[in-house]
Amino acid sequence: MLEVRHLTKRFGAVLAVNDLSFDVREGRVTGFLGPNGSGKSTTMRIMLQLDRPQAGTATFSGRSYRELKHPLREVGALLDAGYVHPTRTASKHLRYLALSNSIPTRRVDEVLELVGLGEVADKRVGGFSLGMRQRLGLAGALLGDPGVLLFDEPVNGLDPEGILWVRTFMQRLAAEGRTVLVSSHLLSEMALTANDLVVIGRGQLIRQGSVDEFLNQTASGGWVEVRSPQAEVLAALVEGSGGRVTRGQGSFSASGVTAADVGELAAANGIVLHELSPKQVSLEEAFIEATRDAQQYTSAPLADGAS
């Protein structure tokens, strides 16, 4: 298990991470979600002790990263596919990492095959596409067969096929019992990949829990759109049964009740319905709602009294 406790990191005047605490459990894909600039990459660099925080700790089963004797055998990370020298070959890039952590060098060929780079093992990395570099980064993360995996925006710049491949890969790693943390600024991506979510905004924790919980708790969850010639009467009945109602012209939207509740109320009272449709908050709406207060750069709201 990966535990983050009270992390704080400042870059000059910028407070990138602010007293951030959360847990990442094993056997699950945990999405690390936040708008751009919310401090995801910084947090992940701190986990590997590449950046020095002003306060706080990140521990792997109770040990800090530098206490791991051969860290690549316990924690694999793909923070940025660009951490390679362009004139070095893929195989030599992995070989030096293997040597530094006493990992048998035959493992280099294994992971290159695993990510589909076996053919280009002896080619210089400078000629690789972004997708190939991502795969090489993934191979580096898997080199030591670690129980914890950290991926920072791994699908950025990938084509749909690559995205699907990475997504399936991460789910497979979690199914093998590993701890998988993957960051993204897109909730829709995380909803497809992750089991759990850690949502941050402006370096602060906004919510931690399962993806389903997040979607249910956020904003109003769902509501029902109702149109009826007797909208007023039905709205009053819905309120009487404990629902909340927002009235419109011959229509209203109700929350706190299901479409079935409204339909039964209408039938029992002989009311004609022209529309009865359950609505879900979209994922992105839920996410924007949750991070609204923490957004650094929100677009200016349309002025209300302008017209």
Partner: protein, 254 residues
């Protein structure tokens, strides 16, 4: 630690520019001496007023003349070992693999010392063999028993790790290779020349590269350190640069 040193050795030789640099050092260091041995007139009076044919130590200096530049380029190699890692961000892959940064830096330093001692041993020997053969062909071979000869050769050899470590230290402090390379080339070849030229009797002796260079001088020069004192001072200077660099690397974000 052995694994880390092997990893650093692989890193060094798997980057094309490093291979090109090492080949250039070999060609320049050996080639310049060989060229001079072939063309310098034997009977014109040299710096000591004696013709080459009558001055055995000058002949050794001649065949090792390429090491002025060769040593400076070993300093560049010292820069590259760390500067390239920062330039291409591989420093993050390196420190993620070995979060105890001091161990990585120690491995790099050990590799530099061992590698430059090996390289310099080979190149000094080659210079003596090739330049000596060319001079012998012209009728005045090297006289290895002439006083000062062995100090010059061993001094040149031992300066190699000093230059490399100084470059390594500068690379750690500045973190970016271009500025560091300019620094390790311009400092000894331009700045120190000017300072020693104009301020010979005041700060001149404290110029580290010049102090180190006393070990290959024929005679102790006025106002300067003696040969081995100067060498020790230079080595101390290189180690202090490494120490400052190592502290900075440990403290800063990678």
């Amino acid at each position: 630690m052995i694994g880390l040193i092997r990893a650093e050795w692989l890193k060094l030789r798997s980057v094309r520019s490093n291979v090109i640099l090492m080949i250039s050092i070999a060609v320049l260091a050996v080639g310049l001496g060989a060229l001079l041995a072939a063309v310098v007139p034997l009977d014109d009076p040299g710096p000591n007023g004696l013709p080459l044919s009558l001055d055995p130590l000058i002949r050794v200096q001649l065949v090792t003349a390429g090491f002025g530049l060769g040593l400076a380029l070993l300093g560049v190699l010292g820069v590259q070992v760390i500067g390239q890692e920062y330039r291409f961000n591989t420093i993050r892959a390196t420190f993620a693999a070995t979060p105890r940064r001091g161990r990585v830096l120690a491995a790099k330093a050990v590799l530099l010392v061992v590698a430059t001692l090996l390289i310099a041993a080979i190149l000094v020997s080659l210079s003596v063999a090739i330049g000596g053969a060319i001079l012998a062909g012209r009728g005045v071979g090297l006289d290895m028993s002439a006083p000062g000869t062995w100090r010059l050769l061993i001094g040149t050899w031992l300066l190699a790790p000093g230059y490399a470590l100084a470059g390594f230290g500068v690379g750690m402090i500045l973190r970016q290779p271009i500025g560091s390379i300019v620094a390790v080339l311009a400092w000894p070849m331009v700045i120190e020349q000017i300072v020693v030229g104009f301020l010979t009797d005041s700060v001149g002796r404290w110029m580290p590269y010049h102090a180190g260079g006393q070990v290959v001088e024929e005679h102790a020069r006025e106002h300067m350190f003696g040969p081995w004192a100067g060498f020790a001072y230079f080595l101390g200077f290189a180690l202090v640069l490494c120490l400052i660099g190592a502290v900075l690397v440990q403290r800063r974000d990678a």
